[in-house]
């Protein structure tokens, strides 16, 4: 079951590789120390871009396995960070097992089950499994934190993968991988743009108690970069009208910002700086997918409601 890559996807992917090569040159010039954080970050970007390109180009199954793996790593990092009870070991095991099941619903294109499996069935079942262990101390916290993790790292992120199986053929030039690429590219570039504008012009802290590095200037700069970029890319990868393209650009920029902020609040609550060290220069995988946990479901439902 291979997916046909329309040539626009290849062109844009080529553009991403070119952009990254350019960014690498700039960073080499800006940060001469071989192990500076900026250089590490670029090296990790190469890995991310290479893996995403492979996953999107190979086959639908490969892409589903890849995004399932991202969910697994994100959930594992989350469960490593938060306090868990030893009595819940079996329950956490079931929570991990829900990942292949959730991506299986996507593989067989069962939308109804995909959309309720975690918010309804796991929401009801996992606390039951916790209750059966007989431990009531910390029950609400354990059930609540586990469900939050599953909703963010599995349910929300899996919306990215459901874009792959939206019905094809209605719009001749639009493919699942194209929509995924559009969402991934804008979400990540928005992160980068916010960072760069914040570094260049940042004066006014937007949320000093949650994330002191976020500024009004960075946020506005991010929106002002992502919105025109969305309009530029939309005709290649999406069925959107110009107005809708601008709207999704704004949606991604704002949602991505709050996804980022939401993870910052979590890290602050736990008293840590980075969520892990899987991606040198970025921190952990949560530091990279935080914006996506907000942009993926919102973009998906916008697209599905208005176009599919």
């Amino acid at each position: 079951m291979s997916i046909t890559l329309t040539s626009p996807v290849m062109v844009i992917l080529g553009g991403v590789w070119g952009l990254l090569a350019l960014a690498t040159l700039v960073v080499w010039w800006l940060a001469p120390a071989p192990d500076s954080e900026l250089r590490q970050r670029i090296r990790s970007w190469w890995l991310i871009v290479a893996l995403c390109s492979l996953a999107l180009m190979f086959s639908r199954a490969a892409a589903l396995v890849f995004f399932g793996l991202v969910s697994f790593l994100a959930l594992k990092e989350y469960l490593t960070l938060i306090p868990t009870r030893q009595t819940d070991r079996r329950v956490l095991f079931w929570a991990y097992l829900s990942i292949p099941v959730q991506y299986f619903w996507i593989g067989i294109e069962w939308y109804g089950m995909f959309i309720i499996f975690i918010p309804v069935y796991l929401f009801l079942l996992l606390p039951v499994a916790m209750v059966l262990s007989g431990e009531t101390q910390g029950h609400l916290r354990a059930a609540g934190t586990l469900h939050w993790g599953l909703m963010s790292m599995v349910f929300s992120l899996s919306h990215l993968a459901y874009l792959l199986v939206l019905p094809e053929g209605e719009y001749p030039h639009v493919s699942g991988p194209g929509l995924v690429l559009f969402l991934l590219l804008l979400t990540e570039l928005n992160d980068v743009a916010q960072y760069c504008w914040g570094k260049l012009l940042g004066r006014h802290k937007i949320s000093p108690t949650v994330s002191p590095s976020k500024t009004v200037e960075g946020f506005v700069g991010g929106v002002a970069t992502t919105v025109p970029l969305a309009a530029l890319l939309a005709p290649w990868l999406t069925p959107f009208s110009v107005f809708d393209a601008l709207l999704t650009g704004a949606l991604i920029a704002v949602a991505g910002f709050f996804g980022d902020l939401s993870l910052s609040a979590l890290k602050r609550d736990l008293g840590i700086k980075d969520s892990g060290n899987l991606l040198p220069g970025h921190g952990g995988i949560l530091d990279r997918v935080d914006s996506l946990t907000y942009t993926a479901p919102l973009f998906f439902h916008f697209t599905r409601y208005f176009y599919f």
Partner: protein, 203 residues
Amino acid sequence: MGYIVLRLAFFLLIVKPFLLLAVGINVRGRNRLPVAGPALIVANHNSHLDALVLMALLPLRLLPRARPAASAEYFLGNRWRAWFATRVIGIIPVAASGGRSRAEALGPVRDALTAGDIVIFFPEGTRGEPERLGQLKTGIVWLVQQAPNLPVCPIRLHGLGKVLPKGDWLPVPFFCDAWVGEPLRWEGDPSRFMAALATSLGG
């Protein structure tokens, strides 16, 4: 020799993929790991996975030389476990001292070091509570006195007691850490050595 092939296959096909995917070990100070035998690796102990993780940290070429010291009572307890532990993993069975002399209890460990092996040794003697360093036994002092110039490499493990704690058989994925510390040297003072050891193992 045949068992070495089995051990390599076990680590390459089962242990390493499992540690990479289900666990994910973040190693710091990898350059301080021993590069040849004989050497003594000491670590805190919370899980059956500890010895496998420490062996997997070593380059493959050293795997035939790596030997965890482990409880004879438990690992030689039944025939299959004994076969797997002594042949595939290559443990050095250590009997509880129970009133016998140090030389009798830890003699096989000293012999392995003399033969040039990389011995993995858990000074707590048994698996304790996750992330709480138990009382260190002083057998380690006797051991380093037998070979005072031997490099002792302390490795502090974190998280494996959550992945597979004592008394459970089902591993649950969590990220784990391994900090390889500065090598410890025997300078003739047992209490200072034990204090340095406890510090480097997170006590």
